[in-house]
Symmetry: D2
Subunit: 144 residues, 4 copies
Amino acid sequence: MDDELKFNLLKQAIENQMPANKLLGLKIFELKNGFTKIHIPFREEFIGDYIQKRWHGGVIASIADTVGGIAAMTSMTSFSDKVNTIDIRVDFLHGATPNDLFAEAEIIKDGKRIIKVDVKIYHKKEKIIAVARCAFSILRIENK
Amino acid sequence: MDDELKFNLLKQAIENQMPANKLLGLKIFELKNGFTKIHIPFREEFIGDYIQKRWHGGVIASIADTVGGIAAMTSMTSFSDKVNTIDIRVDFLHGATPNDLFAEAEIIKDGKRIIKVDVKIYHKKEKIIAVARCAFSILRIENK
Amino acid sequence: MDDELKFNLLKQAIENQMPANKLLGLKIFELKNGFTKIHIPFREEFIGDYIQKRWHGGVIASIADTVGGIAAMTSMTSFSDKVNTIDIRVDFLHGATPNDLFAEAEIIKDGKRIIKVDVKIYHKKEKIIAVARCAFSILRIENK
Amino acid sequence: MDDELKFNLLKQAIENQMPANKLLGLKIFELKNGFTKIHIPFREEFIGDYIQKRWHGGVIASIADTVGGIAAMTSMTSFSDKVNTIDIRVDFLHGATPNDLFAEAEIIKDGKRIIKVDVKIYHKKEKIIAVARCAFSILRIENK
């Protein structure tokens, strides 16, 4: 499959056809083999700590899982490949203020059957809000 | 603080004052020292895999973080205690079909400064959809 | 393969042919489909905190990984199946005093390609020293 | 406390007074605020997979926990500070061949009460064998 076509189709499916992604309001900034960067505009509904006005940890965890999955999908060589999340660990480093968030995910192992991804979530890249590490299984229709 | 009063106030704050919890639509079933059980009604917006109609993994991760945090809060002895999520691991065991989810969380270590919580998410308790384990820090205003 | 034969061969391979297991001095107590229990006699070399005389966290992590792997191997239906550790999370709940340790591991998901295992480490079962959760990939020679 | 004195005392305590570190045979290469690098010479007893001659995963997990703890200790400002491991996640990326291993650990959050550390384990830095992420609690005798 042609790379440009693949990434255009992936972007459309991720942004428009997955209801939970629309609920999150995510926009894909960058999408290439092994890497993605997304943007999540702040919304009042994402607040957890209503006194300090911080993003809810659960929303951060949701972003981490989502952006990790998008990076993993860039490893597919056919839309019939099946990618499933095995597990994820999220580490919270700092509270997220009521501003937009950005999230990057990078494949650190691109195996035949297992994909590992590193995630960073931040307002500005100098101060990371949360990091995550995820494992995915991939069932490749045609072996690489 | 009186236990009944504590749990009533906690329940109100969790269900009504935390915007992200309203977005999730969670209802607390049970809330006692070291344990909680919540109910999350299915909504179309929670779908990730639009072909197989499965709950999005990110929503599951969000539920895990949320229910874990509620259990951790039951360890507070004052509303001035501060509870922060350190990290969470979510293990996905089976896809979640378009039906309501239930989530339980239980404290497995209730320390002076650290709280550990085990989480189970399921449609019916015989078939667990996901498990999670979370660590929280607690800054106790008055030492236990 | 006959179950009794399978478990006898596994026990021998695990206790006698894997050098790192001999270094740990582990003995298998119980081994059956989806479950194992092992015993690790205390040795002075396992101490980390030499003032308080506590088992080193690294040795606990090693035990967790080892016992989890043994449980995962009980899911093999052929000695040609390949089991690899994907990742492990260890949660330390209490310090381990200079006494023997026991460790149990139980499969919580026995999939075609992924196995998940829960681990408990303790002196006496009422007071758990550490828990762990591990993910393994399995390449099954003959599909179940 | 003077930094040079602090690191000399730490190095001595870590290499010579902690029995489990001697069993591992670790040597500290580099030790500074927020970072350490160690060397673990290969030994036959560290083998797990006796056919392919790979380091045992449990030994890798032990190295990850150990090097993470050393980095966390560099955050101490008094030898009366208490550092405890909360949890650790180890991700295995590639099998480790019968050669020496190196491990690096870097503090990614140096909080008042919580420290987070990232770990890399490798033969040669271009091909990482395993990564880990650990959380520690620190009880600081004198607040920073």
